[in-house]
C-alpha cells in the first residue's frame, strides 16, 4: 500500500536518493544533504505552525511503500512561490509594431522578467522512484497535495502554479540557457541549476538581463524550447492539464520550461472532493468501485491513500481496516475523497490574465 505523509527527519537518506535521481535534476530539490535537512526542518515547522494566510511555509511530503517499508517519492508545496524573495519568471508578451504609413503590422514576441507568479502557491520538487513512474503512485504523489490544500485553504493562495522542467536536448543541455543565460553567466545549465538549488534562484535572477528579450534575436533552438516541458514530463503535464491547470504565459528563466496555473475552484480535485463518514468493512466484502484519493483530516499527521470509492447507500465511505489504520481513522470519522481518474482534456492555453 502507498501512502502520502509529511516528511520526517528519518527520511533524509531517501530524500538524498530521490534528489539525485530526479530526471532532469530539479533546481528546487538539490542533492545537497544540508539543504535537504533544512527542507525537512522547514516542513516540520510549517506543519506545526498555526497559519491564517500563506507565507513562507514549505510543506514537504513523501510517498511511502508500506510493503517495502521504503520512501519512494517526494513532493513539496510552497505556500507562496516568492514569499521571502521574488519568484522570477519570463512572461511571454506580444508587442505590435504597426505603421500606417507603410500599411504594415508586425507582431514581435518578447520575454519580460516578471514577479507575477510570486503570490501563487507553488507545487514543486516532485521526484519519484523510477519503478513507480506511470503508476497510480505518481498521480497520488502529485495530487495528494491538492487534497491537503483542499483541507487547509487558508494556508494557500487562490491560484496554484506548477513549474515543469524545461526542454533539454540529448546531451542534457538547455538550448534556451545556451542562447540566453549563458551570455550573462558563462556557465553551463547544469552548473547554474545546481548553484540555484543550493543557494537560491532569485539571487541569480537578480543578475539576469533586466530588459525584455526579443525572441527574433534568439536562436531557433532556444525559441523552440520556450514553454516546452522536458520529454520525461509530458505525461505529468497532460495529467495536470486534465486536472484543470492551464498553460500560462510564464516560463522558467533558466530553461524556459512552462509554468501552468490553476484557480483552486476550477481544479477537478477541489470540485469533486467530498467528505464522507467512514465505515470499516473487511477488504473482501468491499464492492468494486472507481479508485479515489482518500485523505484524513489531521494536519501534522496528514495521510492520503488510493482506495476504492465505495459508498454505502447512506453516503458512508467503506474502507478496509488496513486503509482505515493507515489513515488513522475510526468508524464514524470523516475523510475527504476525490476520484483519481480525470476527464480527458485538450491541451489548454490560457489566453486570459489568470
Amino acid at each position: 500500500m502507498l501512502v502520502v505523509r509529511p516528511v520526517r527527519p528519518a527520511d533524509l537518506p531517501a530524500l538524498e536518493r530521490l534528489a539525485g535521481s530526479a530526471t532532469p535534476r530539479l533546481t528546487n530539490l538539490p542533492a545537497h544533504r544540508d539543504r535537504l535537512e533544512e527542507r525537512i526542518t522547514r516542513s516540520q515547522r510549517a506543519f506545526g505552525r498555526e497559519v491564517d494566510f500563506p507565507g513562507d511555509e514549505h510543506y514537504t511530503f513523501v510517498i511511502e511503500d508500506r510493503e517495502r517499508d521504503e520512501v519512494v517519492g517526494t513532493a513539496t508545496i510552497r505556500a507562496q512561490a516568492g514569499a521571502n524573495e521574488a519568484y522570477y519568471t519570463y512572461r511571454q508578451e506580444t508587442l505590435i509594431h504597426a505603421s500606417q504609413q507603410l500599411n504594415v503590422r508586425r507582431e514581435v514576441q518578447t520575454l519580460s522578467l516578471s514577479h507575477e507568479v510570486s503570490e501563487a502557491t507553488l507545487l514543486c520538487a516532485l521526484s519519484l522512484d523510477e519503478r513507480y513512474k506511470g503508476t497510480s503512485a505518481e498521480s497520488l504523489l502529485r495530487r495528494a497535495r491538492l487534497m491537503f490544500i483542499a483541507q487547509y485553504p487558508e494556508r494557500f493562495a487562490e491560484i496554484l502554479a506548477v513549474a515543469f522542467p524545461g526542454f533539454l536536448d540529448a546531451e542534457g543541455e538547455s538550448p534556451f540557457w545556451n542562447s540566453v543565460g549563458n551570455h550573462f553567466f558563462a556557465r553551463g545549465y547544469q552548473d547554474i541549476n545546481h548553484i540555484a538549488g543550493v543557494r537560491s534562484k532569485s539571487f541569480i535572477a537578480e543578475v539576469m538581463p533586466q530588459f525584455p528579450l526579443y525572441l527574433p534575436l534568439l536562436t531557433p533552438q532556444a525559441r523552440a524550447a520556450i514553454g516546452r516541458e522536458h520529454p520525461a514530463h509530458e505525461t505529468p503535464m497532460q495529467e495536470m492539464l486534465a486536472e484543470g491547470f492551464v498553460r500560462s504565459r510564464h516560463v522558467d528563466i533558466f530553461d524556459a520550461g512552462p509554468v501552468i496555473k490553476g484557480e483552486r475552484e476550477r481544479l477537478e480535485t477541489f470540485r469533486r472532493a467530498a467528505w464522507h463518514p467512514v465505515r470499516v468493512r473487511p477488504a473482501a466484502s468491499l464492492p468494486d468501485a472507481e479508485p479515489a484519493m482518500i485523505a484524513n483530516q489531521k494536519l501534522g499527521e496528514f495521510r492520503c491513500v488510493v482506495a476504492r470509492y465505495a459508498l454505502s447507500p447512506t453516503g458512508q465511505l467503506m474502507l478496509s481496516p488496513e486503509h482505515a489504520e493507515v489513515l488513522g481513522v475510526e468508524e464514524g470519522r470523516a475523510v475527504l475523497a476525490a476520484p483519481l481518474a480525470l476527464p480527458a482534456v485538450d491541451d489548454v492555453y490560457d489566453e486570459g490574465e489568470l
Binding site: H97, A98, L102, R106, S179, H183, Y214, L217
Partner: protein
Amino acid sequence: MRIRPIARDDLDGLQALAQQTGVGFTSLPDNRDFLAGKIEAAASAFEERTPVDDRLYFFVLEDEASGELAGCCAVVGQVGHDAPFYNYRLGTLAHSSVQLDLHRTIDTLFLSSDHTGDAEVCSLYLRPEYRKDRNGTLLSKARWLFMAQFRDRFPDKVLAEMRGRFDENGISPFWQCLGSHFFPMDFNEADRLTGLGQKSFIGELMPKFPIYTTFLSEEARECIGQVHEHTRPALEMLKKEGLRWEGFIDIFDGGPTVEAYIDDVRAVRTSRLCQVEVVASAESDERPGWLASSTSMLDFRAGWVGRGPSAEDVIVLTEEESRRLGVGAGDSLRLLET
C-alpha cells in the same frame, strides 16, 4: 570653384547630381518634386523665413566658369524637429554578483533621441571628375565657416552620421541581424524612406527595449561603430576637426554618429575675420591652404584663396578671387588655414 547656397534655378543641375549619386545616397533621391521641395526649403532657410530650429542650409559646389554643379553639402539647423531623430547609444551594463564570483559587462544598444535639437552636417557629394584640387575639403569645411559666421543660428552641438559597414554583396550584416526582424522591407527601401524624410515608420516599427548585443551575430557586432570603407576619408576629416564617436550608431547599419560642441570644432575656433584688399594680380600658393567665406547669408560664398592674411588681418585677393567670393575692397572675409 566655389560654394554657394542652392538657388531655385538649380533644379536641373541638382537632378543631374541626384542621378549620379545612386543607391546609398538617400538624402538625394532622383525625384524632381522632392528635389524641388528641398530647394524651396533651403531657399527659405537662407532667406531666414523658416524658424531657426527647422532650417536646411543646402549648398552646391559650382564650377563658376561653366556654371556646372560639381557637388553639394548641407547643414541641418536642428535635427529631430518634425520627425524623431533616432540613434542607438551603445552602453555598458554590469552583471555582477559576489556570491557567483561573476563580473561581466554586457554591451547594450539603447534607443535614443538624445541628439534632438543638435545641428547636423550631411548630404556631401562630389562628382568623381571633380575629386581633385581639394574640392572635397572645400565642400566639407565650408560648412564650418558658415556655422562660425552664423553661430547664433546654431545650437551647442553638431553631429554627422557616417555610413556603416557593408559586405562584398552590399548587404549590411547589422541590418540583417537586427533591423530585418522588425522592418518588413530591405535595407535600401528602409534607407530610401528615411532619405525622403518619411521617418515615422521608424518609431513605429523599432524595437523599443534595449538590445543586448550578445544576442547579435558576430558579424553584426563587428559593424557597430564601423564605417564603410568609402566613408573613411570623410570620417578622418571630421575627426581632425574634433568630432568624436561617443557611442551613438545608426539604427539601420550600425555606422557611427560623430559629434562635437560647435565651439570646439577646430575650424570654428580658428577661423577669423579679415579685411579684403583687391589687387590686379598676386602670388598664389602652389597648393591651396586657405579657405575663405563671405559674411552674407543669402549670398554666402566660399572657396580657396591663393594666400593667407597678413598679421594685421588683411587678406589680399585678386580680382578673380574677389568676384568668385562676391566681395569687394573693405568687405569682411572669414579665413581658415587648412
